[in-house]
Each structure stands twice: as C-alpha cells, then as structure tokens.
C-alpha cells in the first residue's frame, strides 16, 4: 500500500487546477490518477476556440488551454499516473486502482474527486426504433473525428442543441458531411448564442425548436429518423411526424456527473445536480473527500471549472494541515421553485468570513428578476438580472459582512424575485 497526503482522481481541467493550487499552498505530497494516456481530459478533443477568455484573457482551443495547466503541473514535478483507472473508493479514503503495473492500493489523507461528467446515452432518453449502427453521442463522434481522424458518417441529424451538439454540427460540415438538422426538444437552446451563430447560422443548418426524434429507422445502419413537433408538455404530436434521410444520428442530450466512485463510498449525492452534496469548502459528506468541476455539477465554461478546482485544492490543503479537526454544524441552503439548485448546498457555521461564491441554476427562462439571498429574515444580497436562463450558471458573490451573517443564520434562502 502506498500513502499520499492528497490524491486527485482525474487529470482533466479540474484535477490539474486543484493539484496546482494545493501545491502552491504548500502541499507537495500529491498524486494525480488519470485513466487516459494523456493529461488534459476532455479538453484534448475540444479543438474549437473559445476557452480561457476569463483565465488567460485570450481565446484558446481546448488542447491549448489544457496544455497551459499541464505545463504548470510538470514544472512543479507533481506526480501523476496515466492509464490508471480508479475502481473503488472506500469511506476511510482507501483507493483501489488498475494501472499498467496491476492493482494499486493507495491510502490518502484527503481526496479530490475531479472525474468530470459523461454524456447521457440513447437509453437515457428512450428513443424507439432499431438498434443499428450510426448512433453516437456527440462527444464520441468528437473523439473519433478530432483525435482518431475517423468520420462517423456523411449525412447527419443531431438531437439536442447543447454546445457539444452545435460544435459538432460545424465540425462535421468542415469534414465534408451534410448536417440536415439540429433538433431541440425545448423551445430554446441550452447552448451559447455565439455557437448558434457561428456553428449553425453561418452554414445554414436548420435548428428546429420544440421537436424531437421519435423513431430511428435502419437495418444495419441508420437510414432515417422520424422527427415530430412536441406540445407544451413535451409530448410528441404524432400527426406532425416527418422523415429525414440520414446515416448518422448524434445525441447531445445532456451531461451527467460521473459519480460512481462517490456512490460506492456512500457519499451523499444530490438528486438534482447528481454531484455530491458539498459544503462551502467543497467537502462531501465524507470527511476529507472533496469534489470540484463537472463531477460536482456541470459547468458552462472551463474557466469556471478551473476556478472552482483551485478553491478545492486550497481547501484540501487546509484540511490536511489543520491540527484540530473541529466539526462545525452546517446550515442547508433552501431555494424556491424558480431556483433549481445551489452549489454549495451547505454553509458551515464557523468564523471564516472570507468572501464566498454561491453558484446556482434557475429552472426556466425568466425576465426582469432579482436574485436574492435571505439569512434568517434579512435580505443580505440582491442583484437585478434582466434575463436568466437554465443554460447559464448564475453566481452570487458575497462579501465578508454578508458571509458573516450567512454563517450565523439558521435559515438561508436563495430565490428569484420577479420585478414588475
């Protein structure tokens, strides 16, 4: 058995940023475990530009953004193992992993889970029809095209207008395919406006809102898909069915945090984010186990992932090096029905009054609202928002005096107030 102070599971943007910040705080005994053959995670296949505007003030592609962090990890000689898959995590922070050398058992004082998320598959949305070849998740197609250099098909329909779907529409066009339509169940896109413009509009790819795929046809290979309009309750109106000939269907229908390890260790998981329930030090229900990045909740921008992971690295360092591990009570943040979730969900009732950020997503598109925080009966934060949407993470930045009130209150409510 090997011993480390801090083990970080996942060598993508979250894991790298967490390792760097923990190291810079003073923790030198770190191990990063990565299952792929390179550090960088999913960024390596995201070859489009638009990363790093917040962090580096320039627009990088995914691999370039990852490389900035990889270089920093290398410079610090932080130890990492590639081709190493963690298969089990126990409550007492013992990790079992499979590597090229066989089974490893590692004991850690603190663990940061930075395992990212995975795509919702066809089975997750129950599309009827045959199980033929030619159905891929958008991210799988992205890996085939951008890393392996294979084209998954020639005539493509994309279900879901999340950013990966939009980016892949343009990518398939660039590689000579015809993208016949992007089909979106909701009346709005969960992707960024800029991607609708530069990935669809620039190439005259139709985006059909309030539509879905109701059937996949084909024997060995996809031959066509049947699409239909949906009503307000998102049920397909079968009299609006239309057949689109295609050989490939890409699915971009949502991302789910990959929490199998956390579940195995009985970490308390949120039913909404599907990430761990964490307090404001990003610690899960297991003492010394932290989460950050897309395994905690799916982020819009990698810059925000790096930011959050940096915080997790610092908190893990503080945890490892605090002498008396005093356990404080925690207050749960409540929300109204317009706010889907907050991260963190728990506020520690201690005397750390450093500025604090609460992140949240709203449940629908709302115009002219105020984002507010109530601590006991006092409104301690209020910010006007002309428009909020589920696709865009909102942030509440609290200053020292606000944090002080937050930490001493028994009831915390985060809510949206409609402004007339």
């Amino acid at each position: 058995m090997e011993n480390y102070n801090l083990v970080i599971i996942g060598g993508g943007p979250a894991g790298l940023a967490a390792a760097i910040s923990a190291y810079d705080k003073g923790e030198k005994n770190i191990l990063i475990l990565e299952r792929e053959n390179k550090l960088g995670g999913i960024l390596n296949q995201c070859i489009h530009n638009g990363f790093g505007l917040h962090t580096f003030n320039e627009e990088l592609t995914g691999p370039e953004y990852a490389y900035r962090f990889i270089e920093e990890v290398e410079k610090r000689h932080i130890k990492y193992m590639l081709n190493t898959t963690v298969i089990n995590l126990s409550k007492d922070k013992e990790i079992r992993a499979l590597s090229e050398d066989g089974l490893l058992i590692i004991k850690a004082k603190a663990i940061i889970l930075a395992c990212g998320c995975r795509e919702r598959p066809r089975g997750g949305i129950n599309i009827a029809g045959s199980r033929c070849a030619g159905i891929y998740s958008a991210g799988t197609a992205q890996k085939l095209v951008n890393i392996d250099g294979f084209m998954p098909g020639k005539e493509v329909v994309i279900l879901g207008s999340g950013d990966i779907g939009l980016i892949m529409a343009r990518r398939m066009v660039f590689e000579g395919a015809k993208v016949k339509a992007v089909v979106e169940l909701l009346p709005y896109s969960s992707g960024l406006n800029r991607n609708i413009v530069q990935c669809l509009n620039d190439f005259n790819i139709p985006l059909l809102f309030s539509h879905t795929v109701v059937e996949i046809k084909g024997k060995d290979r996809v031959e066509s898909v049947i699409i239909a309009e949906v009503d307000e309750r998102l049920n397909p109106k079968m009299d609006t069915c239309e057949e689109i000939k295609c050989d490939t269907l890409l699915l971009s229908v949502g991302l789910l945090p990959e929490n199998e390890l956390a579940r195995g260790a009985d970490v308390n998981i949120s039913r909404i984010t599907r990430g761990a329930v964490v307090d404001d030090s990003l610690m899960t229900s297991i003492d010394g186990v932290f989460e950050c990045g897309n395994v905690l909740h799916v982020h819009d921008l990698v810059d925000y992932v790096s930011e959050e992971a940096k915080e997790a690295g610092i908190k893990a360092y503080e945890y490892i090096n605090s002498k008396a591990k005093k356990v404080y009570p925690k207050t749960e943040i409540e929300t109204d029905s317009l706010v889907r979730y907050t991260v963190p969900e728990l506020i520690i009732n201690n005397e750390d009054y450093n500025p604090l950020t609460i992140k949240l997503r709203v449940s629908n598109v709302f115009k002219k609202v105020r984002l507010e925080v109530k601590a006991d009966d006092e409104v301690i934060f209020s910010k006007a928002r002309p428009v909020v949407a589920p696709g865009e993470m909102e942030k509440i930045d609290l200053k020292e005096d606000q944090v002080k009130k937050l930490r001493s209150s028994k009831h915390i409510l985060v809510y949206l107030k409609k402004v007339e």
Partner: protein
C-alpha cells in the same frame, strides 16, 4: 439596420448595427469595445477563426488539431479547409508549429494546437 449576436465571448450580446452610412457605422447593444468592432466587421468584412485537423504521419495519433492564428474572412473558410485536406505532416508536431504559412494570402498562419509525438 442589421441585427447580430456577438460571438466574441459567451455573453452573446444582441447587437443592432446601423449601416446606412458605410463610413459611420453605428453599433448599439454591445457591452464592450470588442462588440463594436465585431458589429462593424460583420458589415464590412465578417471574419471567423477556423479550427480543424490535419493528417499526421508516424504519430501517436492519426491527426493533429490546428487553428488559424487569427480570424480570416468568412468566405475563405472552405478554401482553407480544402488546403488542410491535402496536408500531411510528420510527427512530432508541437503546439504553435506553423502548418500553413500565410494561408490564402491573408497574412494569417495556420498553427498546430496540440502535441502529437512520434512513435
């Protein structure tokens, strides 16, 4: 009057551009100077970054990702992709290596955005 959505950053500002006078184009709806420049360029000479990949010989991967170092005129996207289609580079390739110099006389180079080591 034309309407655009600015693509410079994820904010995606809704721009209204008054181009009745080509010498004095007025942009409204932007939240930063980059939005103004974008609005004017969308009228006069719309530009886009091109990101794609080219074939690699003897590398750990079959392809390496590339980008135009700066945005190039929108009308040249497919011509530049046509050039990339026929290029094969020898591994190793490193981030920043020039793959095509001055593509289509735009004064913009196409560079590698990923490391692909030789095997």
């Amino acid at each position: 009057m034309k309407e655009f959505i600015c693509i410079n950053c994820p904010l995606g500002c809704h721009l209204v551009v008054d181009d009745s006078d080509k010498n004095n184009i007025i942009v409204t709806g932007n939240t930063c100077p980059r939005g103004k420049t974008y609005g004017i360029n969308e009228i006069l000479n719309p530009k886009r970054m091109v990101t794609s990949s080219v074939c690699v010989l003897n590398g750990e991967n079959n392809v390496v990702s590339v980008k135009t170092k700066e945005a190039i005129p929108k009308g040249l996207i497919f011509d530049s992709l046509e050039i990339l289609k026929n290029i094969k580079v020898n591994a190793p390739v490193h981030i920043g290596d020039v793959i095509v110099k001055n593509v289509l006389n735009t004064n913009v180079d196409i560079i590698a955005t990923r490391n692909v080591e030789r095997i």
